[in-house]
Symmetry: D2
Subunit: 80 residues, 4 copies
């Protein structure tokens, strides 16, 4: 009788992000996930990889056991 | 450095729901709220009122400090 | 990079509760679970079974992938 | 009919932490808060201040609208 959730403290793209505006990106993830809305968190390409920048989650959609995240890119690491 | 959330164990419409399909309704609520997706919960018109039926939350959208809930009406109390 | 959580809208004891006060019970559950604190929810012996009463979760402890819930029994169904 | 929660992506001590073991600290915070258990997050003295180290939340207790967090100090910034 429970809803499974995952609390995420960073955005891990695995290269699956899609650009939808100048600094705006969409990313689909399996399951229902909480991203801290309107709070700056780390962006990574892989879970164990280096931080590639900072983002602010702006919108979360939960449906059919999928999370659709929209995030704003705030800064990009120069080394990337 | 935190995201405010409210965990909801029932849907309270206050008469603000909008029918968008045969058994499908949309409801906008202030703030970011967790409704247990795909799990049957109570429907009420007011927080302290009687149960008016049972619903299953099917979709949640969080954006700009608003929650847009889509729920399926499963059963309606005959007395209503 | 995520913490797995389960949002619970009722307390399912499976007979594992332990009485620790007149109306107070302890229940250990696997994984990290959210119970709505200080809000009245259903008590059941099994997930698919009948409601056996109403309880109010009063304390939640998360540690080592286990949830220790303390709840107050508010009412018991007479048929039980 | 909701439980207020705050999702925290870092630990902000405001100097209120209490050492309870070699690398273990206790911190009391108002309200019910989610810290990602068993996941490394930032430690700060103030919300807007610099990162003073990295910690892993190991235990969370929710009761009487208070959160009692136990965290493990993993690394301390040398500049602090």
């Amino acid at each position: 009788m429970g809803m499974q959730l995952e609390v995420n403290t960073m955005v891990v793209t695995k290269g699956n992000e899609e650009r939808i505006g100048e600094n705006l990106f969409k990313l689909e993830k399996t399951g229902y996930r909480i991203y801290p809305l309107d709070i700056e968190i780390e962006l990574r390409k892989t879970k164990e990889g280096e931080t590639s920048g900072m983002v602010i989650p702006r919108k979360v959609v939960w449906e059919n056991d999928v999370t659709l995240l929209t995030y704003e890119l705030v800064s990009l690491n120069s080394s990337n």
